[in-house]
């Protein structure tokens, strides 16, 4: 019953005398078979389509959004509860017409697509309102997976950032949401904030034609999630503190601040819903050093859903005088430390570039190129190559390109957190 999730811990447990920081990569793999808690409960899906005025230009944008939404509707399995919402400075029901979800079947899917085809664009953008309505729609849905897709092409202009932050705070952990930005007039940081709060992905779809396949894939992935609301529970010994817990693969995502206390020296971090997939987490614990020769359980990591423990792993610490043991760095920890730095230097480099600080931008993006190349993160290296000209990849000597397409810069920004999975022998 608990065999669906496997938890593996990769670390160098050996510490030198007095050392107090324990790092581990925790790999969690799910075979996607539903656990009893999730069986019998059905999924719910809300698709939010930006219908602000800007969606009219170019006209392909709205028509692509309609096609993509139709494809997503077609991907919904029979029995899934769903709704389509149009987003402007408020959120209105597209389908069904009443405020609620309907069960997907041949008839409702056809009706929904009809309604979507009649969508027109006019008005502002207030994403917090959209999410509030999604939350209300999900509220009546008992158990099961709750997933939303949010498509936008612009910035959250008709709502104060504090307003959006407040709404995110109230809907977080209630459903998951994948966000897509179409075109180049939206803000990466804004959409990332929403995606992270709602444990979803964020990506750019620069060419509206690409939307259909993306929507289909997103919906299919959501349909495949077998276990909703999974938490990473971390126990640490007395005197220890969790320095951070980050999802390290497939996408970097710091969940340190998302901890909720769940028992003595125990906290839980949200991981969202799981299908058949594998993720890596980087856990860093600061402990009270013990004597040389002593061994300590520095952390116990459990995956829990619905009060049931699905898998467990141990983070250990052993203090030794043997420096050949303690100076060894776990290749997994090293790899993801590098990937985290990669994301950071890309972000810093792009910010410096925007503010006209060529020197910093060149240094940071050069460093990023080294990290991407060394770690085999070819996707990121390719994205970087659209922003900088590489003079010497090994030494990170680059020149900023004079002309960079907005879409390329935004793609680099958006995907900077996509990590290369650590290679294992």
């Amino acid at each position: 019953m608990t065999a669906e999730f496997t938890v593996e811990v990769f670390q160098n447990e050996y510490l030198s005398e007095g050392a107090d920081e324990v790092n581990a990569i925790v790999t969690i793999t799910s075979d996607g078979a539903p656990v009893p808690a999730a069986a019998g409960s059905t999924a719910a899906e809300v698709i939010i389509v930006d219908c602000s005025g800007s969606m009219r230009y170019p006209p392909t944008k709205l028509s692509a959004a309609k096609h993509a939404t139709a494809a997503a509707i077609d991907t919904l399995r029979d029995g899934v509860a769903f709704a389509v919402v149009s987003g402007t400075d408020r959120a209105s029901m597209v389908y069904p017409h009443h405020h609620g979800l309907v069960v997907a079947d041949e008839r409702t899917r056809a009706e929904a697509k009809q309604a979507v085809s009649r969508l027109s664009a006019d008005g502002g953008t207030a994403m917090g309102q959209w999410l509030t309505v999604a939350d209300q729609l999900f509220a009546d849905h008992e158990g099961g997976l709750k997933h939303a897709i949010l498509l936008t092409d612009g910035q959250n202009q008709h709502e104060a950032p504090t307003q959006l932050a407040r709404i995110l705070g109230s809907v977080t952990d209630r459903f998951t949401c994948d966000c897509r930005g179409v075109g180049t007039d939206w803000q990466v940081a804004e959409l990332r904030k929403i995606a992270e709060a709602l444990l979803g992905t964020v990506d750019i779809v620069a060419d509206p034609q690409g939307l259909t396949e993306d929507f289909r894939a997103m919906t299919a992935a959501a349909m495949d999630k077998a276990v909703a609301d999974v938490k990473l529970r971390v126990w640490t010994p007395e005197g220890a503190t969790v320095k951070f817990v980050k999802q390290a693969a497939p996408v970097l995502f710091d969940v340190t601040d998302r901890r909720t206390e769940s028992g003595p020296r125990t906290g839980e971090y949200p991981t969202g819903a799981w299908g058949s997939e594998s993720r890596d987490y980087h856990v860093c614990v600061q402990v009270r050093p013990a004597n040389v020769g002593e061994k300590m359980l520095a952390g116990r990591v459990s995956l829990v859903a619905g009060g049931e423990v699905l898998g467990q792993g141990k983070i250990l610490a052993v203090w030794t005088e043997d420096s050949s043991l303690s100076t060894r760095i776990s290749s997994e920890v090293a790899h993801y430390t590098g990937q985290a730095e990669l994301a950071e230097v890309i972000r810093d480099g792009l910010e410096a570039r925007k503010s006209g600080d060529v020197e910093t931008a060149t240094a940071k993006l050069g460093r990023a190129m080294v990290l991407a190349t060394e770690s085999g993160n070819e996707d990121t290296a390719k994205l970087l190559a659209k922003v900088v000209d590489v003079v010497d990849p090994a030494h990170g000597t680059v020149r900023l390109k004079a002309r960079v397409a907005d879409a390329d810069e935004m793609a680099l920004d958006t995907r900077s957190t996509v990590t290369k999975r650590v290679g294992r022998a």
Partner: protein, 330 residues
């Protein structure tokens, strides 16, 4: 002049106890509580909550445990208990002792994996039973009767380990014992830990298994429901029909006494060994010849480990007759 092995106080020949420390000078035995003396101690931080894997639930410190690989040699008897390759803990235990001029007593217990604190159950049972058997051997009492008493005592101490857990997961274990003198060997068992007689070269008493598993599969074979061959692969092969524990009540062991005519070895083991070496022929095929008992135990344990080590492995080897091999003897 000889001295007490514990406190080095000089002792006279014929002394049964050391005048200084009270040690029984006739009896040598494995340490009570296992290799580290105690398996349920409090952590140095003061907490008494130790989790199933031996970590303090408060400060995280690993509790000392030599249980992963226990190796005792008390000539002529030797035993090895190994955690194996798959299990987190070694829930098998062994206890044995030698009574000067009276022979050898040995016990192997296998903690039931589905029960709580199984390693405490097996250790407590083995220690308690060995104590009863050693006392009886010192006093020259009947070995079969002593075996029944030993199991009764082991039942009580294991039942006392039960705490707040549901009865079906109360600490429990299997049991196999041997009391071996120059003439006879008395074997007692409950559950699926086994004893074998392995004849030396040219012995007229053929090698054979001395115990019959208390498992549902074995019972079905007896009742003619399934064949011996089917039983080996049956999923009930390891489902015990009898064990020691709070949910088992007072248990009476099966007891047999054998009178080998020639020299050989007695082998007590847990299923972690016999899973891979079922029959005496299988054992004979991998046993090194003309090596001390500890080397025999080591070789058999190695085979089980190399075959996968899916369970804890415990092997106790007692030569028959139970004497140390002196110089010049082969």
């Amino acid at each position: 002049m000889s001295t007490c092995p514990d406190c080095s106080t000089p002792i006279s020949e014929g002394d049964r106890f050391c005048e200084e420390c009270g040690r029984n000078l006739l009896v040598r035995r494995t340490p009570v509580g296992g290799p580290d003396g105690s398996i349920a101690a409090a952590c140095v931080c003061g907490s008494v909550s130790i989790d199933a894997e031996g970590f303090c639930e408060r400060c995280g410190r690993a509790q000392p445990s030599g249980r992963e690989r226990m190796e005792f040699v008390l000539p002529p008897v030797a035993g090895i208990s190994d955690v194996g390759r798959r299990r987190q803990r070694n829930e098998d235990s062994m206890a044995f002792g030698v009574v000067a001029d009276h022979g050898v007593v040995a016990v192997v217990c296998d903690g039931v994996a589905s029960s709580e604190r199984a390693e405490q159950a097996s250790q407590a049972a083995a220690d308690a039973a060995a104590e009863v058997l050693l006392d009886a051997a010192v006093d020259g009492r009947d070995a079969e009767r002593a075996t029944v008493d030993a199991v009764a005592e082991a039942s009580v101490v294991v039942a006392q380990l039960a705490g707040g857990e549901p009865q079906e997961v109360a600490p429990s274990c299997t049991f196999v014992s041997a009391v071996i003198t120059d003439e006879t060997a008395t074997i007692g068992w409950v559950g699926d830990s086994r004893a074998y007689w392995l004849a030396g070269n040219g012995s007229r008493t053929p090698s054979r298994r001395l115990t019959k598993d208390d498992t549902w599969a074995a019972q079905l074979v007896d009742d003619g429901v399934i064949t011996e061959a089917e039983a080996k692969t049956d999923h009930r092969a390891h489902v015990l029909s009898r064990w020691l524990g709070a949910d088992a009540g007072l248990v009476v062991p099966h007891v047999v006494t054998v009178h080998p005519e020639e020299s050989g070895l007695f082998l007590l083991c847990s299923d972690g060994l016999w899973n891979y070496l079922q029959e005496v022929e299988d054992l004979a095929a991998v046993m090194p010849a003309d090596v001390p008992p500890v080397a025999v135990a080591g070789a058999l344990t190695k085979v089980a480990l190399e075959s996968g080590g899916h369970d804890n492995i415990t092997v106790v080897v007692v030569p028959f007759p139970p004497r140390e091999r002196g110089a010049g003897e082969r």
